[in-house]
Amino acid sequence: MSTWDWQVFCKDTIEGEIQPGCFGKGGDITYLDWLLSAWGWTLSVSLLALLLALVLGALIGIFRTTPSKTLVAIGNVWTELFRNIPLLVQVVLWYHVLPALIPPLKSLPSFVLVVFALGFFTSARIAEQVRAGIQSLPKGQRYAGLAMGLTLPQTYRYVLLPVAFRVVIPPLTSESMGIIKNSAVAFAVSVSELTMFAMQAQEETSRGIEVYLAVTALYFVSAIVVNRIAIFIEHKVQVPGMAGGH
């Protein structure tokens, strides 16, 4: 194998000349600039998709625990639909098929479509965790809330969800780390994130190992950061003596 050549990151992306200081000047960009912006895209896609997935997932998960047969059915169909289609196929669906069927979607950039695809896909998984979290609570809690005269939404808001959300934080941590890994599928619709960068920079520079190592390292760093943040949140919201508390 050939020797290392880390200077590849200091090269201009157009002329391929090494730039002093490694960052491009005056509108030119180096591979390092590109790598960092790709990291930004990966993080943006992941965070926005996570936000969407948390909101939708919580809602669908709650649906599946209500006494209403309609809501349970909607929740079940949602979960089965998004869990049983490969993520890449869902991305392709959002990018190639849905805009053809629903013309207003045509004006959306592929970045937004990927956020939708990743968010909906992950929402089904989060819904499953939320459902399990709510069902792990003793049935008496729900009955106690209703017996006291709280309405069903009030029972959820003041009795069930405060505990259930704390119970699901650990599994949600691994979902959040998973979403960063899963955001790699955005390469398929040419969003300029880390995996797309890896493929293109490898082709242009022929320094695949250096490029892949840098990209892999950034995925590692992102996962560790998410993990730390999640542990921090877990400690912050802990109720001593309650589920998840110490």
Binding site: E80, I85, V185
Partner: protein, 221 residues
């Protein structure tokens, strides 16, 4: 937009899609079987209690689990030809990648499965004079497999879904088959929609099957 499937007949499916379906299935089966074998070895290493076995196995599993599968696919497609000194086809490269990658996930399932077998079973094996190998092979692993079968099968369904990611290196899988057919007849939207339906039908029926199995094989203690 009006969907038009008039071009679609058995010969279109057999000449474009079938080849991809066969590859995706082969990839899933080979990676599952080889992945479980390799994963069991990794799990036993991690449970052996010997640092020189635990450390490399844990490092391997944790590394594989923190990298996106697409990046692992790209890594192997780049590295294998460098190591063996000659180019390797995308399909074979994918089979190797999925085996090594999934082994990490299967090993975690196996580890949980082995740990789910009560410790008294292991002690009983030792008490009747069995060696570590015999205890594992005759007492622990058969029960662990039974406990873990539903999870192993769920992981296989996920593996089947993940095979679509070989798109990154251009291997000809099920999704590619639909894509090529769609391009040939200039009907990409119809074909992608059909691909979605086919993937859903396969994965949904398999998960139903797992659910029924789960109820059937639970060990009552």
């Amino acid at each position: 937009m009006h969907l038009d499937y008039s071009f679609l007949d058995a010969s279109v499916l057999s000449s474009f899609v079938l080849k991809g379906l066969i590859f995706s299935t082969q990839l899933t089966l080979v990676a599952t079987l080889a992945g479980i074998a390799l994963g069991t070895v990794l799990a036993l290493m991690r449970l052996s209690g010997k640092t020189w076995l635990v450390m490399p196995a844990a490092a391997y599993v944790n590394t594989m689990r923190s990298i996106p599968l697409v990046m692992v696919i790209l890594w192997f497609f780049l590295l294998i030809p460098l190591l063996i000194g000659q180019p390797m086809g995308a399909e074979l490269s994918a089979v190797i990648t999925f085996t090594v990658f999934e082994a990490a996930y299967f090993s975690e399932i196996m580890r949980a499965g082995i740990q789910s077998v009560p410790k008294g079973q292991v002690n009983a094996g030792y008490a009747v004079g069995m060696t570590y190998g015999q205890t594992m092979q005759l007492i622990v692993l058969p029960q662990a497999f039974r406990n873990m079968l539903p999870v192993l099968m769920t992981q296989t369904i996920i593996l089947f879904q993940d095979t679509s990611l070989v798109y990154a290196i251009g291997a000809y899988d099920l999704l590619k088959g639909f894509e090529v057919a769609g391009k040939n007849f200039n009907r990409p939207v119809e074909m992608y929609l059909l691909a979605t339906a086919v993937y859903f039908a396969i994965c949904f029926s398999l998960s139903m099957l797992v659910r029924r199995l789960q109820k059937k094989i639970a060990i009552i203690r």
